[in-house]
Symmetry: none
Subunit: 195 residues, 4 copies
């Protein structure tokens, strides 16, 4: 019975995943989710409080992992101070790992969350990355205009997601990511200094 329940719950989440992926949060219909899960509409509400809750649930793992990753990054002191590139690599590796486990969920929260509580996910993520990168910069660059670092963070994050969105083969993924990191963070300090 507990097992049964879990199975139904899983079916609902699976169906909702398909639905949100296809139509986005606002366009998703509870009826279609129910049908897809071979479950009565009303039963949806035994497992989840409402539409937002289902979305939360789907997105949660990805979200939590990302948050954990960022916390981890914030806490960590291992990486060499001043090497933003190393930091970026670390973050990227983390996102890729999460993507390996929650690929569709991650893209849903990034691309299909308009109208939901998480519609600002990318912004929030960028902000977190921004904080990390900022902290990581050597003192000389600490006073670099926040805006620039924010742009950098945002471009970097968006870049990671662009790659996740379209690259399927793991080896190409690896290669592209690395080249993007070069593009974004090589010589970053000198580039930030130039005018």
């Amino acid at each position: 019975m507990q097992y049964q329940k879990e199975e139904v719950r899983a079916r609902i989440l699976q169906s909702a995943l398909d639905e949100f992926e296809k139509y986005g949060f606002s366009g998703a219909k509870m009826l279609r989710i129910a049908r897809g899960a071979r479950v009565a509409t009303g039963n949806l509400y035994r497992y989840f409080k409402n539409k937002d809750d289902i979305f939360d649930e789907i997105v949660k793992a990805g979200y939590i992992n990302i948050a954990a990753l960022m916390d981890e990054v914030v806490e960590l002191e291992e990486y060499g101070r001043g090497d933003v590139r190393l930091l970026a690599r670390y973050i990227t590796a983390g996102i890729m790992r999460i993507h390996a486990g929650y690929g569709r969920e991650l893209l849903i929260i990034a691309d299909k969350s308009a109208g939901s509580r998480h519609e600002d996910f990318l912004q929030v993520l960028c902000e977190m990355v921004f904080t990390c990168i900022k902290r990581e910069m050597s003192f000389d660059f600490k006073d670099t205009d926040d805006m620039l670092i924010r742009i950098l963070s945002s471009g970097f994050v968006e870049g990671v997601f662009m790659i996740l969105r379209s690259v399927r083969e793991p080896e190409r993924l690896e290669e592209i990511i690395n080249r993007m990191l070069v593009l974004y963070f090589d010589d970053i300090e000198s580039r930030l200094n130039r005018r």
Copy 2:
């Protein structure tokens, strides 16, 4: 009387601007727009065919100008081949000019258009910029992976909009933009080549 009409039309557009800015296209309600414009709902429809039309109208000038800018860029041969930075500077200057005239409108079409006919505005713009940048690269880099150049274009465009979103003072705008251009396009060819 003629004046009257224009004044109401302006009031509606103003109210709609506020509404779209606050709630986005999908969340915007005709009733609220009407109330905000101190006008009966039905009267909205004397001035605009429907909600999409109001949105179009608000967004039109910005859209047209951006499109014209990109056309212009595509046509132009003046800029030095291979100097992507010059190209980016040109595009940026154009967007800033448009922003000076249609700031909120531009941000609305970029950030608040989900559900409307223009929800893919940023993507389309990125694609156009991508095309331009690609064309501009010297032969050696023509075969650089499209994905990288797309990331570059997207990051650049997103960066421009981030700046527009938060920077108010023109002189800081100028400065930030220039530094972003350095960040994105200095040594671009060598950075694209490295692995």
Copy 3:
């Protein structure tokens, strides 16, 4: 000024005639009528109380004339008793005469009046014709089932309108009408008696 007024009024009626003919009563729009009359919407209401009133006015002449015709027929004793055919000929002649003066109006009230006060015009007309025909029958047929005579009246009236609807040339009109009268009323008494 009085003259002016009349001219505007005429223009409104003309435009409304076109409108009702094209769209029927329910589908007709006051705005289109106003535009067609080169008049402001509000001004329509100086000349007519409302949409129904305009329709009434357009339809009135035809209606009154038809009513007068039927009264006339009811009053008249000239035609030979028992000769329903003669009666029908008389009625037909009357309708044709009215049609000559108010052709479009007559067809509008007959075909385009759904939703208006006059949507039952044809029924009413049939009923009047029925009364006349009934009265005209010699005693032997007085007790003929009313339904049959009603059918006869209705078919006859509908036939007249069908002809008016599609026949344009006066001489063919004349001929067709006559043949229809033969068809409907020749030997009518014996046909009514047979079972």
Copy 4:
């Protein structure tokens, strides 16, 4: 539960039947239909796509049967060539049979369909009957003016419906119909020939 559903569906159709009968298609309001069916408005749409669909459903059986009847009549060769009266009798019998099953529905499609997809039902039916009758006439009358035969068809069809509209008792129905057929088709050939 299954039963429940059918019962509600039936209640909606019943309420809609009353509504359409009373107000006609255009005048019918979904809210009133819902109230009449003791159902929430939204629930109507679980059973029917929209107002047109409800109307279609109500009218369908009658419509299909009439169409089938006419097809049947067109195909049939059994009836004696030249005996339009026999043909008319056949058609009448068919319509009466359909009326026995779908009396109100048939009258609704005939009289209350203005604004719906079926507003030209009577015209279409008349045209079909016209075609049949025309085909049935012996050669001598083939070239009789179409207008006359159309009038005949139309009067006949209208006559059938008039009877259906007001006669309740089956035996009187039978009698009236027969007498109408005499009235319309006895000596039809000679009557068509006279001038």
